[in-house]
Symmetry: C2
Subunit: 189 residues, 2 copies
Amino acid sequence: MYQDYKSKILAFYEKHRRMPVYKEIMDLVGFKSRNAVYKLIDKLVEEGIVSKDKQGKLIPNSLFGQVPMLGVVEAGIPTMAEETFTDTMSLDEFILGDKDKTYILEVKGDSMIEAHITEGDLVVVKRQDYAKEGEIVIAEVDGGWTMKYFKKDKSGRFYLLPANKKYAPIYPESDMRIAAVVKAVVRKF
Amino acid sequence: MYQDYKSKILAFYEKHRRMPVYKEIMDLVGFKSRNAVYKLIDKLVEEGIVSKDKQGKLIPNSLFGQVPMLGVVEAGIPTMAEETFTDTMSLDEFILGDKDKTYILEVKGDSMIEAHITEGDLVVVKRQDYAKEGEIVIAEVDGGWTMKYFKKDKSGRFYLLPANKKYAPIYPESDMRIAAVVKAVVRKF
DNA sequence: AGTATAAGTGAACACTTGTTCACCTGTCAA
DNA sequence: TTGACAGGTGAACAAGTGTTCACTTATACT
């Protein structure tokens, strides 16, 4: 019953992308007075799953809109009953550190297959014109665009290394311009 | 200047996980009357990037809090200037269809390496006790937990197939219990 | 039984909300 | 200069906000 309240409020948040006001919660859970909601919220605040701003408006806390992160696969999945999850996370925040200058690209081709990035995957890239050694970059070399490892050889020259033995490393002839670095890979089934 | 307003409102939304009220926008962009905000919002509504609910409160629209999805890698990255992105998406919504019964697990081991799921990846799983042929499942077989392909052989028997030649298919001796199916894979660099 | 504690009701309060109206700039064209 | 017009100001309004108080109902325990 009580857990029910939480999930109804969460559902509202998911649907409307904002927290409900007291009257809405009232209708949501079936109360007939806003004061009942007030007392309910008091408990949720004490539990730490929601907070109030200076004006009393609700703000969702960490556990809200987040996915419980259980252990590792081989340890098995804990049953719902115990559900002592190790952590919880928002995928959005996890994947996109800073939403600024972040874009998503679809992957074509198999040149990064050995890095386990395959055709149809989505890569989350951050647009920047520099990169660290070893990062996967989106670069423009000799007129074409590619996604490759950004490497440096013994003599200090930079080159692009595909993660596929079928293809050879690319030593830029004229110029090489880094457009973005790959921050994450997402694959959906 | 005008574009500035949008990004400031967006920043507020990102930070507080809710849309600002008119007075907050007023302080945000430097207006001295809420009516100025009212007129500004009117334009944003007309542009379709925000809406109002029945009570006048702002609700963020599709372009808000979302990541622009550009084309495919080989086509290169369009410049910021043009930015005629093909689409835009919220990773949260994209990855987690229904947040209910969805969990995240960290991958250990290399038994799914040929499916390009490698150690350290995060798999987004949905807890359910059935699966379709060919899906990747988290299952309990003969007392242990594994992540494998869920397959059916010619005679109609189900078995678990690792995506790694080093390991043999698993034909469940006593019982096989499916705990969850893998919906997505996320890898962060 | 009785009684203490939790949970819900309903009305009232001060305050904030989005909205409207009339008014005041600037800027640009004729 | 004149007029038009988009963009901003400031005050006023009804409606909705979170909160408080006093009161009632349900639940559990000795």
